[in-house]
Amino acid sequence: MDQPRVSAPAILEVLPAESGNLIVRLAGDWLLGVNLPAADDLLQRLATSRAGNRLEFETDSLGVWNTGLVTTLLAIYEAAAANGVAVNPEGLPEGARRLIALSLAVAERTDTGRDRTASGRLQRIGESTLDALRAGREMITFAGELTLSLGRFVTGRATYLRQNLFVYIQEAGVEALPIVALISLLIGMIFAFVGVMQLNLFGAGIYTADLVAVAMIREIAAIMTAIIMAGRTGAAYAAEIGTMKVNEEVDALTTLGINPIDFLVTPRVIALVLMMPLLTMFSSLMGIIGGMIVGLFMLDASFQQYLEQTISAVRLNFLFGGLFKSLVYGSLVALAGTLQGMACGSSAMAVGIATTRAVVMGIVLIVVSASVLTIIYINLGI
């Protein structure tokens, strides 16, 4: 069994030589990360050397070495080359000589156009504005493509897999029922709780039934379901299509002459838009049930009374108004999800960004359209 080596500290010194030439003595163990001497003095001397001087190495006491030695040598070579000093590599260990030759063999590419200077604030504001305009244009173009594709669907000229459509319908419809049920139930309960507290002050507690039913059916069911679907299905659409883009699967469709919008986007949009009204009605029902649970618990009314009050509060135009809103919200969520998926970049991080944008864009579009539709409804007297 050999004695363990005692490591010697790394040494770099410049020995005197005739008329401006330099002899660099390297000794000890030169290992990366272990107290290597700085070569700054030597590099300074090289900067002030005359062209035509020579530099040699003396490595008789050099111990074990690795990358730590080679990076220092490369810095020396670079400084020497910049000042016309000729370097004689003979004193170096053979492995190091070969590595230096390999490293310097291919000249560094300087025309790669990577500018690493930071942009000023005004520049960044400008760039953000241009980006926002571009995103707006993209969305309009995408909506147009989607419309054309729907046209092809209706006339039977679209290329897609019917079994995929049914899978999307199942994923966007049936599989969303549990979470929609849970959230709608709780929202109904919250509404009823708040309603009873306030209305009881006026002896009008029973009107909680009206409150919950009308709120859910006219607006809340549609908007809550849409937000849930944005986080659930909009994100999924963006992630699926985004990952396919990263894996070049979308390119593969295009080269086969299949329109990726027809194949990937429109079936997903149709699935979500078909399911939204159904999910919204289900959400209204669950909300009313939740309200009923709280109402019966906190009020002095019977089940029969509460039910009759609920039924008398609801009008058909409330229902249709709410369902129309759900169609609009569903389309926007699906648009946001699939658009961001198709616009995804080419890395893992890009898929994450696309998913986030899909959800945020979906929610923003929902809220904006909710406001617009509400104003329209008010003016139309719906």
Binding site: D29, N66, P93, R98, L99, V106, T110, T112, V246, S347
Partner: protein, 265 residues
């Protein structure tokens, strides 16, 4: 980390030993009773027909998958029989080049090479940057430090993957099908690079491949795995195996199927 003096090359002692190794996915056995040694400084090829378990064997050697039975011994220490922390320590002396490079797509080439250095050394930011530029220059990618993997070609991705595999000056380099997807010239250049690095750094190299041209030009030791009998058929210098191994399948493979059934030479 590899440390080298020109006078200190341990000749003849096995760097890696595989003893009675059996690999399986559940109850589905891939290979059994594998026994071979790899010496320090060897360029060792794991070869065999498709589906023989070459890549699985590589994964077991680098610690990605555990064997059903048997040992992999590095410098006398058995990898699969040591504690987790010791395994992590041993893994730091390996560098692996995966088939398509497996670069982290959200990081630049420099950041890819820097990650092992940030994890396992105390170097400062500028020092790490210097080392990254050096490693990338060794594979001919100087100037591409700030490029993303999606912006470079397949061959460049492999070379960047190699630079990253060498970040910590590993004692052993593992390559999984390095020539896959490369044109003949790029493949030859990569072979030359592997040899040059091996000779400059004294690294032991383990390659999974079935490119005959590469095998004969770089390898000096090998193991031949058979998918039918699920064990090794031969070990040794591929050129000797091609010319004179007693097993027909081995010679036929290495002669690219040119032998006839009744051939004896």
């Amino acid at each position: 980390m590899l440390t080298t003096t020109d006078s200190e090359r341990a000749a003849g002692t096995a760097h890696i030993e595989v003893v009675d190794l059996t690999m399986a996915y559940g109850s589905f056995v891939i290979q059994q009773n594998l026994n071979f040694s790899i010496n320090r400084g060897d360029v060792f090829v794991i070869m065999g027909g498709s589906g023989c378990g070459k890549s699985t064997l590589l994964k077991i050697m680098i610690g990605l998958k555990s064997p059903a039975r048997g040992q992999v011994i590095f410098n006398g220490e058995s990898f699969w029989e040591t504690e987790r922390e010791d395994q992590e320590q041993m893994k730091r002396s390996f560098g692996t080049l995966f088939q398509a490079g497996a670069l982290w797509s959200s990081m630049t080439l420099a950041e890819n090479v820097a990650l092992p250095l940030q994890q396992y050394t105390d170097l400062s930011g500028p020092q790490i940057r210097e080392v990254c530029s050096y490693k990338l220059s060794l594979v001919g990618l100087a100037g591409f430090e700030d490029f993303y993997p999606s912006e470079i070609s397949g061959g460049m991705k492999k070379r960047a993957g190699l630079a990253r595999a060498m970040a910590l000056d590993p004692e052993i380099l593992f390559f999984d099908e390095p020539s896959a997807g490369l044109d003949p010239i790029s493949s030859k250049l990569l072979d030359d690079l592997i040899i040059e690095l091996k000779e400059s750094l004294g690294t032991t190299v383990v390659v999974v491949t079935h490119e005959l041209a590469s095998i004969f030009s770089i390898a000096n030791n090998s193991v031949f795995l058979d998918p039918k009998t699920k064990t090794q058929l031969a070990t040794g210098d591929p050129r000797l195996l091609r010319d004179s191994d007693p097993n027909f399948d081995v010679r036929n493979f290495l002669n690219r199927g040119a032998l006839h059934e009744d051939s004896t030479t």
